[in-house]
């Protein structure tokens, strides 16, 4: 409404738009050639401004952050882990290494199970070392809602990773040579089982696998200037179960990582 009134006022003030009268020969008309109609002024761009919303993760030198997970091992124990990660992009691939500590909790079911001659496979508290390779299978820039959240770069990655489990105290009292051998053996030795018996939860039968193979998907959400929020779902593939004597089969892991890429 205001703009329309203003335009009408300007039209009324214009010589072409008003009543014809005598022309003052002394009037300065040198500016006339710079005059333009209001409509033209309204249609004409007066300047440009832009802001980048796409983050080029391939050019980042290194990424790091904090990762936490919940393990759905399909037994009666609850496992939560937290740690840090470091990642590096190589073309379409993303290499990632992570170290996490896993907290394990029993449940009412396991407490009652401990009263019986039965056990269930589980894993005591431990340190896990992951080495994961991801391949970007889809990516793009998206706008966010609500609007105050800036636009983000989404990258969907297919992942395969190897996980190494280290049980603190498991190798206590073993000769150095046995420790060296046990560190890399796919199956936890009897001596380690003896040590871990003091750390296991009630009714827990310690799973003997030391390595795990996981596969899944990661959704990296990059915000400028490099903030990354990464939800991830991974599934443990019991490929080496027979060799490692694992009692756990398929299980899931849901992770959320927050970090930065430089």
């Amino acid at each position: 409404m205001i703009l329309e009134a203003l335009a009408l006022a300007l039209l009324c003030a214009s010589p072409d738009g008003g009543v014809a009268g005598p022309v003052d020969p002394t009037a300065d008309t040198s500016i006339e050639r710079f005059r333009a109609p209001l409509d033209a002024l309204l249609e004409r761009p007066v300047g440009e401004a832009s802001r980048a919303v796409r983050f080029d993760w391939r050019r980042s030198r290194i990424g790091f952050g904090v990762i936490s997970s919940s393990l759905l091992e399909l037994n009666n124990y609850s496992s939560f882990r937290i740690g840090g990660y470091v990642r590096k992009a190589l073309g379409n691939f993303m290499l990632e290494g992570a170290v996490t500590y896993v907290f394990v909790f029993g449940s009412d079911a396991t407490n009652k199970l401990a009263l019986t001659p039965y056990r269930q496979f589980g894993r005591p508290p431990r340190v896990e070392v992951d080495l994961t390779v991801g391949y970007a299978i889809a990516e793009g820039v998206v706008t966010s809602r609500p609007g105050l959240v800036p636009a983000a770069q989404l990258v969907l990655t297919a992942n395969v990773g190897v996980r190494y489990l280290f049980y603190p105290g498991g190798l206590a009292g073993l000769p150095a040579l046995d420790v060296a051998a046990a560190l890399f053996a796919p199956r936890i030795s009897d001596a380690e089982i003896t040590n871990l018996d003091k750390r296991r939860l009630p009714a827990m039968q310690v799973d003997r696998a030391r390595y795990g193979l996981l596969a899944g998907f990661t959704l990296d959400v990059y915000f400028q200037p490099g903030i990354a929020v990464t939800p991830r779902v991974m599934m443990a593939l019991p490929v080496f179960s027979g060799m490692a004597g694992a009692g756990l089969g398929w299980w899931w892991e849901l992770s959320l990582a927050v970090g930065a890429s430089l």
């Binding site: 009263l115 001659p117 089982i193 027979g242 009692g247 089969g249």
Partner: protein
Amino acid sequence: MRGSRASTRLTFALIAAALASCLNDPASGLPVGCGKVPITDINAGFSIADVSWFEDEQTMFVFYRVDAEQGLQPESVIELEYRTDDVVVPWTPLGDLTPVHTHVPVDCGVTSRCGSISLAVRKPPRDVGLRLRYHRAGQVSLDAPVLFNVVGLGPTHRTRSLAVYGVFDEANTRVQWRARHQFPTIRNEQATELGLRRRFSITGAGFGDVQLPGAENPYGYAASPVCPNGLTALPWPERRTTERAIFETTELPLAASTAPLVCAAATVTDAIGEFTTTAFARKNPQVRSAFPALRSPIRENTPVGFLLRICNRVISQEHLDMQLQRLQLDGAPELCLDDFQAVGFADRLASSFKQRIDATRAAGKDMILVLAVHHDDTTGRLGRVIEAALEQVLPPERDKSSPRVSGAFLLDSSAYRVTAGTLKTLVLWCPSRLITQFDLDVVPAASERDCPLLPDQPDLLLGPFKLNQLPILPTRQQYLTFIGKYSVAQAGSVKKIVYLAPERTAVSENIPVGEIGLVTRFNNETISAEPTDAFSFCASEDPGVARMAVQPVGAPEAIVQLSMLPRLHQASPFQLYSLGLGWESPFILRLDYESRLAAAATVATFTLPFGIASANQRFLGADQWKREVFPLADALTQCTRFCDHPTFDSAGVYQPLAGFRQAFAEQCYRPKFPVSPEGGFPVDP
């Protein structure tokens, strides 16, 4: 493209492997890999659930061991129930019961729980039950199949759960007192492993001689209620322990050297209180080496050489030269064999030998007759003539003291084998008859030889090359054939011959054994023994030990191998045994020679011989003369005191039923004695 296919295959393989886990879980064998983690039974079971009640002690002992594949938890408990005429004990954790004796906690590993307990039970128990409660707060339990025994009243050494005995150290001066668990179904060391510790004490020791029961009471525990009179008291303080053994701190006095045992009062505890009876420590058999070593000095013999040849014609100068070179007989006196069939030729030959021997004897060294025989007689008559001559010389010399002629070494022109029995042990006659067919291209591979000198390397053909080697002591046929092919330069040569033989004393005596064997007593070596002594022979890898023989002094017809001495002395003991050394060859000669691996390359009918020289050393004769000392310390042990006492075996286990005399006559006696101050828990299964 190839990489893509490979990765696709790998992906499918991983998926297939993962899916396979859905079909069969490797741990439980159930198809649960894709579902929830299964619950598995720990498969617990009792391997030991033994209960014994001793009426004399009014004590009930419980031993248990329960195993579980997946282990037990700290909250698991073992419970016991029983009843008597006086009391009913319901299921009660063992930890809530009051033990009679000390029972230490036992760590049997994470998959096992084991231990023991002893309870005061005045009357015979019945309905004894043992079970595992999986969790102290739980209701689920596992009943044990209990082995229950009642040990009633009877002889103390059979009806007590603990026997006490003593043993001595190696010097027989220090006593180690030991306790031994006696349970119907649990072994001594097993009871210790299951945590049982018994306290026992020793007081009032004295030494002397007491007749102990035999196998009926092998440890002699409680052989008498108190130590018999007549023993000499020892001022030893009381010794007390909860382990299974403890050493006395003081040695026996010298006055106790002849005393066979020590008696003491041994006190053990039970549910009633204390029980005291006698315990005995018997000394170990007192042994020594019967004859530490037989020493027979070996001396180098002086060769007395002769060339025996056909003088009226030349058979083969090359062969003759070879014989002289091989035996190092350059300049040796020649004796002609042209009329060897004449009557009395052997006598003349023997006379020539004797004259030169007697002349050489003045030098004071043992001699050996060395003969090179160069002839072409193929009938064997010449050999028999030479044998006849040697029979006149060697057997009388054999029995003389040094200096004497030890034997004869002879290199013939053709193979010959000695026929005279008396010479078989005195003459080394080369070359061997068994290699007479030896053509240089066909070497008999592995045959026993009486003059075992064959080429180091048999004939070898490598394309146009032919390799061969001449035996260093060949027949004339062999030699001439060889040099025809390869030349004299490839036939090798002897560098040095050394003859060694044992020195005989004036009292040395030869005793014939069998057809070709002799046993020589060199210097009146004898073994002295009392009738009560006992011997132990230990078979040895040393061939010298097997050549030893003993002859009871006073029984010249009875000569036996050393290994028979223990039984011989048990059957009919003698005071003295002569020790001799058996032999089949009187000397050994060391031959240092250079042999050549002769080679000939034949190309277009042109043969070029050449050779590769190598230095060799061979011994001919009896190996036993390579050394002067024959150790017998490990082979023959003589017990001079306490020979019927039990003793230790090589593992350190005390064998109360194995006296030295019977158990070790034909076994090695290598006991392992306890060493002070070690104690604790000796090996005593």
